[in-house]
């Protein structure tokens, strides 16, 4: 009798457990990143005639980056006007990240660093042509619009880093954290 009562009390919690389940977990939702940058495109337009327009794009930056179209083929000793475009294609409609960055320009800085392939005489200098509205000692450069000047022929990598520097922007790359850090291959011929 006692055994029976005990086993009944034993079954009660089990029954409660089974009854109390719901199955929300069986329908996972897709991954959603508030701040994904999937696509970075550099568009360079030569300031010489005939006008040369070069674009290079890195895709799927947020997962496994695709660098197959990320090479800039430039002419030596030429000055280009550069525009950096950043997109988040995981959102519908696609989010224009560079427009958002331009709007919050006072806390963003795009830093360009060219590193020639070992032994190559190639050189590229990048100068930001846009300015934020930070109060003095600002304004500081933003770097979405640039002037890019090539030197001798050769090859190398152009590193593009978007720095987020809320309240600490001072015109140098050091403060803040990186939102984007990627490389474009450069061939000067």
């Amino acid at each position: 009798m006692n055994m029976f009562r005990q086993s009944l009390l034993f079954l009660l919690p089990m029954a409660l457990l089974v009854a109390a389940c719901n199955n929300d977990e069986e329908n996972p939702t897709p991954t959603d990143d508030n701040e994904a940058i999937t696509t970075a495109t550099l568009t360079l337009t030569s300031q010489t005639t005939p006008v040369q327009t070069v674009t290079a794009t890195v895709e799927n930056l947020n997962t496994n980056a695709d660098f197959s179209r990320a090479t800039l083929t430039l002419r030596p000793n030429t000055t280009y006007t550069g525009v950096l475009s950043l997109l988040d294609k995981t959102k519908t409609p696609t989010l224009d990240v560079s427009a958002e960055v331009a709007e919050e320009a006072n806390e963003h800085l795009v830093v360009y660093t060219f590193t020639p392939t070992t032994g190559s005489p190639a050189s590229v200098t990048v100068t930001a042509t846009d300015r934020d509205t930070n109060p003095a000692p600002g304004p500081y450069p933003i770097g979405l619009a640039t002037q890019i000047r090539t030197g001798a022929a050769g090859s190398g990598k152009l590193k593009v880093v978007l720095r987020h520097q809320p309240n600490v922007k001072n015109g140098t790359p050091q403060p803040g954290s990186s939102d984007l850090d990627t490389d474009f291959s450069v061939t000067i011929q």
């Binding site: 457990l17 389940c21 199955n23 977990e25 508030n34 940058i37 939102d179």
Partner: protein, 801 residues
């Protein structure tokens, strides 16, 4: 005078050799409800020894000499009772049952008490925080409060997040029981602090070492029991108000409760409502404020209890309990880094770049967490069959983590995890049986069941999952004369199914894993003489891999790590041995605990693989890996009464932890693990003042805390492999040793009939800049500087006869 004392000593020694075999036993009940008071203490003044009442209120003190004694009976929030007794030549003296009256007025002067638990029917090393020692930690988080106990540490993420660490183990290897319910609040993350309001506790007990038998598998490291004050039984209203203010962070906490017990026809019915609010601004290190380190907490709970005695002599009772814990915790912005390059740049900075002034502002990055608990408990206690308790609880933990936003105007969190846990427990506690040979048998057996469902949103770190767990256990103890022996067995089954979405095909797949295992424990205590007792315990425990160990796959932005699970991990298996020695002399008290915990398949995040490159740059990749680990250490407490009112207390915790190398070249060699607590010693001098006028329980104390440098840490190194930079060990070497000084004073001041408890505490009084090895923000910032705290406590009783 000296010769008189010596004479007494000689007499008692002579008695010890001849007739000191008497066993004293008795029972402690609540005066009004006649319920047992587990945990109540019995103290024989002349012998300086005592015992703790078990779940039936029973206690025994072995090896007592014949003679006259004064006995003190005490329990938290009950009035102390004093009794004179005479022990004759009988071998067993059973004292009349003692009934303690509830008391909401006295400020307990009990300091940290350390005892071998009779209360939990476990012969395991325990340490607990109650009375004045607990009051002195008011306003701090659960983890921080426990740090004062030997063998306990915290792993921190800045000043606002502290996780308790027992003997070097934390997170899922520790079980926290909040009001008897296994707290399920996503403890797997190292920046996930336990969501428990410490004001709920009237006692916090820590079981050090594997304690799986009673509380479930997973408890490889230990168990933290947050025990609320007992429900009122004396008809009338009671209330208590607590206010805590702290200078660092300009923080304030208000907490209080109201309770009522009914009389007459409604006798046995009682209720309590409790709430806490806490607001903390930016913490200040000696040289700067920590940007966005503010946090707040809002908690509430309510309980309704009913119990009645049946004509048959049995008692039945039911409780309904609900609690809600909500917190919003800001994370120091100086620790926000986008990539490994940022991380190294931040480490290289001696001070954070941005050093704003003081503020209570709280913006991204922050965590918002809500923990809800609903508990239903019912019991039947019969004099013949013992006690049967059924408990059902539902917990819902919602965690939202908001990262720093750069360009989007998103209002969504980056991480959303909702964990719903349901537990059901059925426990039978045997009525103690007296055996013909004078021994006593007592024990308990039970069933624990759990199911959990987890739903994630936004970024992927761990998958959705469902799990089921069931456990059966039995513990039996035998006490005779100087010996107490205990043995327990347990069987557990675990089932885990994780759900994954293939985003290309929109199909859902799942993976199921199951584990089952048994665990066992044996323990013994031996009372060598009135002053010295020895205890030893051997136990095994296991822990099934958690969902994050198996299936993590994502960027843990706040940890600057890409974490990958290993779906093939096996369960952790622990073999735990503890030995302890307790000496209670007239002036000297010594408690020495030794432990060795070997854990096979110890799962940890190994930082040794090719970095992952994402949009923000390179991240070190970590993979959950299993090793054979050993945790070995010593906890020592020495208390010496220099003169009557002046006591020196020294608490030292030493720990050595290592893993055996699996590398074929160095197989078996010791490799150190990261985030292992360094050696530590806390020393304090406390002077108790005489009561005067309206002042009582006055004391002043000074303390120093020395924390050694952790020299047994993995080397900070990086190497080139296949053109990739691979990081091993840690990002920065352990910080140097430090010493902090503190002071405290406290007293009780009587306003009318109500006693106002006042405690004034100062920490890091020399305002020393230091970094702590166990703080994950040690790469970026110093620890908080000087802080002065004022803690007020006012218990109120009205309408009570």
């Amino acid at each position: 005078m000296v010769s008189v004392l010596m004479g007494i000593c000689t007499v008692s020694l002579a008695q010890a050799q001849t007739s000191c075999t008497a066993v004293l036993s008795g029972r402690i009940l609540d005066q009004a409800s006649h319920q047992p008071l587990p945990g109540a203490t019995v103290y024989i003044r002349e012998l300086g020894t005592g015992a703790v009442a078990d779940t039936n209120g029973m206690f025994r003190v072995a090896a007592v000499c014949a003679g006259q004694y004064t006995i003190d009976y005490q329990f938290v929030s009950y009035q102390k009772l004093e009794q004179r007794i005479t022990i004759g030549a009988d071998t067993l003296t059973t004292l009349p049952t003692v009934q303690l009256a509830p008391d909401s007025r006295t400020l307990q002067e009990v300091v940290v008490t350390e005892y071998r638990s009779e209360a939990q029917q476990l012969l395991q090393v325990q340490t607990s925080l109650s009375g004045n020692a607990l009051e002195a930690t008011r306003g701090q988080s659960l983890g921080e409060s426990l740090k004062t106990l030997p063998g306990l540490y915290t792993v921190q993420t800045g000043p606002s997040i502290a996780k308790p660490v027992i003997h070097g183990l934390y997170s899922n290897r520790i079980i926290t029981l909040n009001n008897g319910i296994r707290q399920e609040d996503q403890q797997w993350g190292s920046e996930h602090a336990p969501q428990i309001d410490p004001f709920l506790a009237s006692r916090i007990t820590v079981i050090k070492g594997a304690a799986s038998i009673r509380y479930g598998s997973d408890a490889i490291g230990g168990v933290i029991l947050v025990e609320p004050r007992p429900m009122p039984v004396k008809p009338g209203f009671g209330a208590e108000l607590n206010a805590v203010g702290g200078t660092n962070g300009r923080q304030g906490t208000l907490s209080g409760f109201v309770e009522q017990a009914f009389g007459g026809k409604l006798n046995g019915l009682s209720w309590r409502l409790q709430g806490t609010i806490k607001r903390v601004g930016y913490a200040r290190t000696p040289n700067y404020y920590l940007d966005n380190s503010s946090y707040h907490e809002t908690n509430g709970s309510g309980q309704l209890s009913y119990s009645r005695n049946l004509p048959s002599g049995s008692t039945v009772g039911t409780d309904l309990y609900y609690s809600l814990f909500t917190t919003k915790v800001g994370l120091f912005t100086g620790a926000q880094v986008g990539s490994l390059a940022d991380f190294y740049a931040a480490i290289a900075r001696p001070e954070p770049l941005r050093q704003p002034g003081f503020s209570y502002d709280l913006s991204r990055p922050y965590q918002q967490v809500q923990h809800e608990l609903l508990k239903f408990r019912t019991f039947v206690r019969s004099d013949r069959w013992g006690m049967l308790t059924f408990t059902y609880a539902r917990q819902q933990n919602i965690r939202r983590e908001y990262d720093f936003l750069s360009f989007s105007r998103a209002t969504d969190p980056e991480l959303y995890l909702k964990l719903v846990s349901q537990t059901a427990d059925l426990i039978w506690e045997q009525k103690p049986v007296k055996l013909a040979n004078g021994g006593t048998l007592s024990g308990s057996a039970g069933f624990n069941g759990i199911t959990q469902g987890n739903v994630r949103q936004f970024l992927f770190l761990i998958p959705n999952y469902r799990n089921y767990g069931a456990g059966l256990f039995a513990i039996e103890r035998y006490a005779n004369d100087r010996w107490t022996l205990e043995a327990g067995v347990r069987y557990d089954y675990r089932w885990l199914r994780a759900f994954f979405l293939n985003e290309q095909t929109s199909t859902v797949t799942n993976t199921t894993r199951q584990w089952q295992n048994g665990s066992g424990s044996v323990g013994a205590t031996y009372q060598l003489n009135q002053r010295l007792s020895l205890a030893g315990n051997l136990s095994t425990a296991w822990r099934a891999p958690n969902v994050n160990d198996l299936y993590s796959n994502g960027l843990h932005q706040s940890a600057v790590a890409y974490e990958r699970g290993n779906p093939n991990l096996r369960a952790e298996q622990a073999y735990n041995a503890t030995f302890s020695l307790e000496y209670t002399g007239k002036r000297l008290y010594l408690d020495l605990g030794l432990y060795n915990n070997r854990i096979d398949n110890f799962i940890y995040l190994k930082p040794d693989s090719v970095p992952i490159v994402r949009q923000r740059g390179a991240f070190p990749a970590y993979t959950y890996t299993a090793v054979q680990a050993t945790f070995r250490g010593v906890d020592a407490t020495i208390r010496y009464k220099i003169v009557d009112r002046l006591t020196l207390t020294s608490k030292t915790s030493l720990l050595l932890a290592y893993a055996r190398s699996t590398d074929p070249a160095t197989r078996g060699a010791h490799e150190y693990l990261v985030y292992i607590p360094p050696n530590r010693t806390d020393n304090s001098l406390r002077y108790e003042l005489k009561d005067a006028n309206r002042f009582s329980s006055m004391y002043v104390s000074v303390s120093s805390q020395y924390v050694a440098r952790q020299n047994r840490a993995p080397a900070v190194s990086q190497r080139q492999e296949g053109g990739q930079l691979i990081f091993t060990g840690d990002f920065a070497p352990p910080p140097p040793a430090y010493t902090l000084f503190g002071a405290e004073m406290g007293f009780t001041y009587r306003i009318g009939t109500q006693p106002l408890g006042v405690i004034l505490t100062g920490t890091n009084l020399l305002n020393r800049a230091y970094r702590d090895y166990l703080d994950r923000f040690r790469y970026f910032t110093d620890e908080p500087g000087r802080a002065i705290w004022l803690k007020l406590r006012l218990p109120l009783a009205f309408g009570r006869s």
